[in-house]
């Protein structure tokens, strides 16, 4: 207790700096995976992608990021069990932020496809199990998080397979592709708006102080989806088929219509990413803030302060503006094979899965979900060539990340303990 009151502001400032830095890292690096697909498919320009990402990452983080943040803050370790030694929780959370941050930096230098989510969860579980005792870890919750890491790519893959198959049957495999695309794509846009809005209304807005019943949410989400569909329909109607463009011309006309759809899925992807990944940065911060502000009491019941989410959301946006654009540009330039008709299916499936996970307060990896979604389109015979070796590399880096994050956070925990006592 004395430690908290004595070093309170130091710990709080450290937490804010580390949390903000972590969010900055997410913005400069992870957002590229969420947005690169759209830029690569030329559905968005780089500037457009940055603007979409800023607005929707922020909105997702602030409006729908609360649930996952609570999981990181108090779902993995039960703070009530640490009522006598709250400073251990503070050290641990700071160590986890530092560990994940450094591990991600190392991964960046070597170009490993490492997940932020896995780093932070591995770090928290690691310090808790080793430094304060494995009985403090809520293994049931950790188990459900771990299984969600397996389920989310599978789910996204199944959804994207279904979405792409429907596109193939309704639009691609028809002689009048262009007309059918104009007809059906507003329907997909409706779906984008409906799903994102529904999950957010049901689960996300609690901490902002707004609560709707299921029926109200349903009606609002449907109205939102319909509104987006109308906007989309207008945008699509402005695309004219180029006369006498030959078969090549027909292809690019069709993809232009899908590109409109992909602008919407890009927004939903940014929103979904913000809603899930902000927690990696601000979850530990929230735990620190909570303990320090209450002068050492753990108070698991207390609400999540809104400004904590704001710190994370602004960190993401700053990282995005400072470095993220360059990463998006690089990532986007390297994809020539993912056209909007494919990319949208992958994005919509991934965004849906991630938003549902955010609603279910499960921290999952957006990138891995996207991998599953891209593979789903591939299984539907939609992608020319997929390099399966990359999947192996991703799985390997996942397996390595957990012990790496854990060892680093254990190291930092003992360092903090040595400094502050």
């Amino acid at each position: 207790m004395e430690i908290i009151t004595q070093f309170g502001s130091t710990l709080l400032i450290s937490g804010c700096v580390l949390g903000f830095f972590m969010a900055w890292g997410i913005g400069s690096n992870d957002v590229a995976n969420a947005m690169g697909t759209s830029v690569g498919a030329k559905a968005l320009t780089l500037t457009g992608a940055i603007m979409v990402a800023c607005v929707f990452e922020f909105a997702g983080a602030y409006l729908a990021g609360g649930e996952v943040t609570q999981t990181i803050r108090k779902g993995i370790i039960d703070p009530n069990l640490l009522a006598d030694t709250p400073h251990y929780l503070v050290y641990g959370m700071l160590s986890s932020l530092l560990a994940a941050g450094i591990w991600l930096l190392v991964a960046s230098i070597f170009g490993w496809p490492v997940s932020t989510t896995h780093s932070i969860v591995g770090a928290i579980v690691g310090f808790a199990a080793v430094c304060i005792g494995s009985e403090f870890v809520q293994w049931g919750k950790v188990g459900s998080i771990a299984s969600s890491w397996v389920v989310s790519p599978l789910l996204a893959g199944t959804i994207s397979f279904g979405i792409f198959k429907s596109v193939q049957i309704l639009i691609l495999d028809r002689p009048d592709q262009f007309q059918r695309a104009q007809k059906f794509i507003p329907g997909y846009i409706f779906l984008v708006g409906f799903v994102i809005c529904m999950v957010t209304l049901l689960k996300g807005l609690k901490h902002v102080g707004i609560q709707f019943s299921a029926a109200e949410s349903l009606a609002l989400a449907a109205a939102f989806g319909a509104f987006l569909a109308v906007v989309g329909r207008f945008l699509i109607s402005r695309i004219k088929e180029t006369a006498g463009g030959g078969r090549q011309g027909k292809h690019s006309d069709l993809e232009k219509v899908f590109a409109v759809l992909m602008v919407f899925t890009a927004c939903s992807m940014a929103f979904a990413h913000g809603s899930n990944d902000v927690a990696n940065a601000v979850g530990p911060l929230a735990a620190v803030v909570n303990i320090v502000q209450s002068g050492g009491s753990v108070m698991a019941k207390s609400a999540l302060p809104g400004w904590v989410l704001l710190v994370g959301a602004s960190g993401i946006v700053l990282g995005l503006v400072m470095l993220g654009y360059r990463v998006i540009e690089t990532v986007g330039r390297n994809i020539t094979e993912l056209t909007p008709s494919r990319g949208f299916a992958a994005e919509l499936a991934a965004a849906t899965t991630v938003v549902v996970a955010s609603g279910a307060s499960l921290p999952i990896s957006t990138t891995h979900t996207l991998v599953g979604a891209v593979l789903g389109v591939g299984l539907a015979r939609g992608i020319g060539a997929i390099d399966v070796r990359v999947v192996g590399k991703i799985i390997l880096s996942w397996i390595v990340t957990l012990p790496a994050g854990a060892s680093l956070s254990i190291l930092f925990f003992y360092t903090f303990k040595g400094i502050f006592g």
């Binding site: 690169g36 495999d173 002689p175 993912l338 891209v374 020319g384 060539a385 997929i386 990359v390």
Partner: protein, 225 residues
């Protein structure tokens, strides 16, 4: 500095180089027509130039074939079996090879087409080349096939193209019979060696059409479910 992107997952699609490969194969076959026309008019210098273009196109096709193979490592997950794609590439690559062999044989032996068979010979060559053209045009529809994710509608369109290809190959066969008959009737007026190599050239031209037909059938098998 960035963490490896999952988008490395997307490897280069083999479709674009395959289209280009088929286009070159078609152009090479067309050039064979120019070559034979020059030769039958005894325009030797044009024939030699044409022969050089055929060799050049055959080289380009070879390079592309190697590039396609290089970009199709075993670790790729493709919408169709990798072996089928590679086999199609191999068959398409036989078209420029055959054109090169025919023009090589005719240049090397400084062959002249006897007046008596000139008309039917030209007709035969034109038909065989038409078959090869049709084969390359069918392969060039591969981007539609990949674009529609191997849907049934596209397979139908392709089926129609390949039926047309069969008809062309049949016509070329008929033309070959006529050339052989005319050659038989004039063969006593020619030296025996000339005759042997004329039959050889006719056989090779017939094979150009046959191989073109094989391309079409391989393509249909690729698209079929």
């Amino acid at each position: 500095m960035s963490r490896g992107s999952f988008l490395d997952l997307l490897a280069q699609s083999p479709v674009k180089p395959m289209l280009e490969h088929a286009l070159i194969a078609g152009n090479c076959a067309d050039e064979l027509g120019v070559f034979v026309a020059a030769l039958s008019e005894n325009d030797w210098s044009s024939a030699v130039k044409s022969r050089e273009r055929i060799v050049e196109l055959e080289h380009q096709a070879d390079d592309l074939k190697r590039e396609i193979r290089g970009h199709l490592p075993k670790s790729l997950f493709l919408p169709v079996p990798r072996a089928d794609l590679l086999d199609l590439v191999r068959l398409v690559d036989q078209l420029p090879n055959t054109a090169k062999d025919i023009s090589g044989l005719m240049t090397g032996r400084k062959m002249r087409i006897p007046e008596g068979i000139r008309g039917s010979f030209t007709d035969f060559v034109t038909k065989a080349i038409g078959t090869a053209r049709q084969a390359s045009a069918s392969v060039e529809r591969l981007d539609d096939v990949f674009g529609a994710a191997f849907g049934g509608e596209v397979a139908k369109t392709l089926g129609a193209l390949v039926r047309e290809l069969d008809a062309l190959e049949h016509e070329s066969d008929e033309a070959e019979i006529i050339v052989r008959a005319e050659l038989f009737s004039v063969e006593n007026d020619l030296t025996p060696i000339e005759v042997v190599f004329l039959y050889e050239v006719v056989k090779e031209i017939g094979e150009l059409a046959d191989r073109a037909q094989q391309v079409g059938h391989r393509l249909l098998m690729l698209v079929a479910k």
